[in-house]
């Protein structure tokens, strides 16, 4: 019986498995193959096997190294800021007051909407000459900012949008974490005369460790594939100030048609992602075991 049921279950899963093998696994293997080729899309018959040649070239390519550094910089800055702001927001929303739920849902809207829209909207707000940001900045005495038009501030401007859009993500996760804290703990703390910052430091923040880890890993993977935002704001510029790995791959693959080279770069992103995802998956299973007890 057990065997028959197992087979039924497997047949139910079969269409999905076949689908994923063809449309996800096969392309991944194909990427590995392409990364060893010197292959230009416009001359498909001139593919040459170059082994690790593309990777050797990548590690000497200043633009690729720059795009890697930019990606890391954007990821770290964004995630740190999102964690800080996210915690503050969660503290505010973690009060069962009338209307809080509606406010919270409205607050989440930015992350549900495609980054393309936000990229362009913020380019308008950040326009140095007639944008709203500089108008306000000059009124309050912060002065003229070049935003996306200067290599010095472009990356930071990207981070601002990224943080603005994704702080809600961190916040709602922290909120879910906070709601899991037993009220008894707070009662005990207030009996002991704990101050609010002691409660935050010794009860809340330790309790959020698990959810914070999940957030960091998910946001790391998000930032590794950061494409839409770059495409709709700076397209990597000025110069290479905001070139990210995903954008580099897109440009080499579909503007310069340097397919082999681009595939090699995407394999590097894939390896990074796989490493991060292993941590995440481990946490997933641990979380499951915890909830089963």
């Amino acid at each position: 019986m057990q065997k028959i049921l197992g087979r039924v279950g497997f047949f139910l899963m079969l269409p999905a498995i076949i689908y994923l093998v063809f449309i996800s696994v096969y392309p991944t293997i194909y990427t590995v193959f392409l990364s060893t080729q010197d292959f230009n899309l416009t001359q498909p018959h001139k593919a040459v096997f170059v082994g690790f040649g593309n990777f050797v070239r990548l590690f000497q390519d200043d633009l690729f190294l720059k795009s890697t550094m930019n990606t890391i910089e954007i990821a770290i800055l964004s995630i740190v800021l999102e964690l800080i702001f996210g915690y503050i927001v969660a503290e505010v929303f973690d009060n069962r007051l009338k209307g809080m739920e509606v406010l919270r849902t409205i607050y989440m809207l930015p992350m549900m909407i495609t980054p393309v829209v936000w990229g362009l909207t913020w380019v308008y707000i950040f326009n140095p000459n007639f944008g709203l940001a500089n108008y306000i900045f000059e009124r309050v005495g912060l002065g003229f900012q070049p935003w996306f038009s200067s290599a010095n501030t472009a990356l930071l401007s990207l981070v601002i949008i990224n943080v603005w859009q994704w702080t809600p993500f961190t916040a709602v996760i922290f909120l879910a974490g906070l709601s899991g804290i037993s009220p008894d703990l707070y009662d005990a703390a207030s009996v002991d005369g704990a101050k609010w910052y002691q409660i935050a430091l010794y009860i809340k923040i330790p309790h959020l460790k698990y959810v914070a880890m999940v957030t960091i890993l998910i946001r790391l993977m998000d930032n590794l594939r950061l494409f839409d935002l770059v495409y709709s704001t700076t397209q990597g510029g000025p110069g290479s100030a905001t070139e990210t790995m995903s954008f580099f791959i897109y440009r080499y693959g579909f503007h310069f048609f340097n397919t082999g080279y681009s595939s090699a770069a995407s394999l590097i992103v894939l390896v990074f992602t796989i490493i991060i995802s292993q941590f995440l998956i481990r946490i997933f299973y641990r979380g499951e075991e915890i909830s089963e007890y």
């Binding site: 449309i23 696994v25 879910a176 993977m221």
Partner: protein, 273 residues
């Protein structure tokens, strides 16, 4: 809680919400502006409400309407196919002692985490050889593969939350497994199904990279059309805003529908509210 701290919390919450939704409001205001009002200094906060930009962008020779329909078609059909294949798999995963289930789950979850940029070149080559470039079908095929792992994983989680006893009772009463799926499990998992459908629709509706690479003049979706307003010289802000507003209206509506499940959906079920 005393009145003073209540007031403080409301005050902070409203400031936070304002920061968050301000660009949405600004986008809507921009969509009502005329060309001249766009460049006005000081900025015009409340332009006269006029739908001229919408009419201009969604009618006539260069109408964005076909791209809106492409987006709707692709998001709808990719969701439908994903749900059909995905709910079968989720049911199998959640309810049957499939040998090696752990490894299968693990594999499906890993696929979910793969960056689309890592497979976009091969997908382009595959679609080119299948002559499916710049077609809705090509994009649907790809979106199903993007959303399938998500749907299986989340739905299996929902199904595990439904007590097994109910299904077992149905089996004892003479239902076969298919009847128990259709009559018992599916209706009970309706909230789960609705949630993953909406998520799947939303992911397809918002997706840019694959649409950019795999479609062109005929099958391009709304996000691609919006990205085309980008230019180094002169962006038509009012037109961009009008098209964007049309694009985000459905998302705003569905956000309220699935608010309870957003955390679960976006963390792949790692965190439940």
């Amino acid at each position: 809680m005393n009145i003073k701290s209540k007031f403080l919390i409301y005050f902070l919450a409203i400031i936070i919400v304002l920061i968050s939704v301000f660009p949405i409001v600004w986008l809507v205001m921009t969509s009502f502006k005329t060309r001249v009002e766009i460049f006005s200094i000081p900025p015009i906060w409340f332009p006269k409400i006029s739908f001229e930009n919408y009419i201009a962008e969604f009618s006539g020779g260069s109408s964005r309407l076909p791209f809106l329909f492409n987006s709707l078609k692709v998001a709808f059909f990719s969701t439908l196919i994903t749900i059909i294949i995905g709910s079968l798999a989720a049911f199998g995963m959640a309810r049957f002692p499939v040998p090696g289930k752990r490894n299968l789950e693990f594999w499906i979850l890993s696929i979910r985490m793969m960056p689309p940029v890592a497979v976009i070149i091969p997908l382009y080559l595959i679609m080119r050889s299948l002559k499916l470039l710049d077609t809705n079908i090509g994009l649907i095929i790809v979106y199903v593969s993007f959303n399938l792992p998500f749907v299986i994983w989340i739905l299996a989680g929902f199904l595990r939350g439904i007590p097994k006893d109910i299904e077992e009772a149905a089996l004892i009463d003479g239902c076969n497994w298919f009847q128990s799926l259709v009559r018992i499990s599916l209706p009970l998992s309706a909230p789960g199904l609705a949630t993953v459908s909406i998520f799947s629709f939303m992911f397809s509706w918002n997706e840019l990279l694959a649409a950019l690479v795999l479609t062109g003049r005929n099958a391009k979706t709304l996000p691609v059309a919006i990205s085309e307003y980008w230019s180094t010289t002169q962006i038509r802000w009012e037109a961009m805003a009008a098209t964007s507003v049309i694009h985000i209206i459905p998302i705003i509506i569905v956000t309220f529908l699935i608010q309870r499940y957003i955390v679960r959906g976006l963390t792949m079920g790692a965190i439940k509210e």
